[in-house]
């Protein structure tokens, strides 16, 4: 089981590598989708099903869908693919930075396996993450309202940023 989770961890890092070294934003979005699916699987393996579901629906189903059609607005009509020399050198350079950082930072001597799951303390009435997020409605009501107000404010911010006709941001001078 621990090797399966290590595989998910490696796939998550590979997805982030695909986002960082993308030849074109289309492939970056593919890397981000793979990374978020693998991250959901990772959280599910630990037993945290609610935060995994929130990630899946809000992040993958909401935010990444918006990113995908923004990419279709903004990216090139003829993108370059993964096989080009420059992209391969870029990816190898990023991996090299990571490996050297891990070696210099002393990772090799002190690594260990092991994970604590949600049932680490025995049985309970409700799962750990369900009972935690439910506190949004009791002790966390203030932050809940702040989060909702921030989302409403963002709506108006977006409206003002994309307003054209010489009244929006980023006008050519």
């Amino acid at each position: 089981m621990i090797y399966f989770m290590s595989l998910l961890g490696v796939c998550f890092a590979l997805g982030a590598l695909a986002v960082a070294s993308n030849p074109s934003p289309y492939y970056g979005v593919v890397g981000l989708v793979v990374a978020s699916v693998v991250g959901c699987g990772w959280l599910l393996s630990l037993g945290a099903s609610f935060v995994s579901l929130v990630l899946f629906m809000v992040y993958l189903g909401g935010m990444l869908v918006v990113f995908v059609y923004s990419v279709s607005l903004a990216a090139d009509p003829f993108p370059e693919a993964w096989g080009s020399q420059q992209v391969a050198m870029y990816g190898v350079g990023l991996i090299l930075v990571l490996v050297i950082g891990g070696a210099v930072g002393g990772f090799v001597e002190c690594w260990k396996l092991g994970v604590v799951t949600v049932d680490g303390e025995g049985l309970s009435f409700a799962r750990l993450d369900f009972s935690g997020v439910a506190m949004f409605y009791s002790y966390g009501a203030g932050m809940f309202l702040m989060g909702g107000w921030g989302l409403l404010l963002t709506l108006f911010v977006v409206l003002e940023v994309v307003r054209g006709l010489s009244r929006g941001t980023i006008r050519a001078v």
């Binding site: 989770m5 290590s6 998910l8 961890g9 490696v10 998550f12 890092a13 997805g15 982030a16 986002v19 960082a20 993308n22 934003p25 970056g28 981000l32 991250g39 959280l43 630990l46 935060v51 990630l55 809000v58 992040y59 935010m63 918006v66 990113f67 923004s70 607005l73 903004a74 990216a75 870029y90 990023l94 930075v97 990571l98 950082g101 990772f107 260990k112 396996l113 994970v115 680490g120 303390e121 750990l128 993450d129 009972s131 935690g132 997020v133 949004f136 002790y139 966390g140 932050m143 989060g147 921030g150 989302l151 963002t154 911010v157 940023v161 994309v162 929006g168 941001t169 980023i170 006008r171």
Partner: protein, 98 residues
């Protein structure tokens, strides 16, 4: 360091480097920012599980809320840049030059 912690730590570092070395498109930088937010979400989710503290499970959901706000604002700037300059290439954003 646990081997699993290395997974999202390296994902965060790789996305940070990708944001620093962004090349042509603004949306590539926004995607690296989203990848950083994803690795932060996983980190914040795994921390209460490892310490068995249920009330800190609020934090990743709250972080996702504000990350959605930030992603929306970044995409609005992308749309504004495309409407003004015709593309989201980063060399178009050149007002601050010495």
């Amino acid at each position: 360091m646990s081997l699993l912690h290395l997974g999202f730590y390296s994902a965060f570092t790789l996305s940070c480097l990708g944001l620093a070395f962004h090349r042509t498109h603004l949306i590539s930088a926004l995607l690296c920012l989203e990848s950083m937010m994803l690795s932060l979400y996983l980190t914040l989710s795994i921390w209460p599980i490892e310490n068995q503290a249920a009330s800190f499970t609020l934090m990743p959901v709250l972080m996702l809320t504000f990350s959605a706000c930030e992603a929306g604002t970044g995409l609005a700037m992308l749309v504004a840049s495309t409407r003004t300059h015709g593309s989201d290439h980063l060399h178009n954003l050149n007002l601050l030059q010495c």
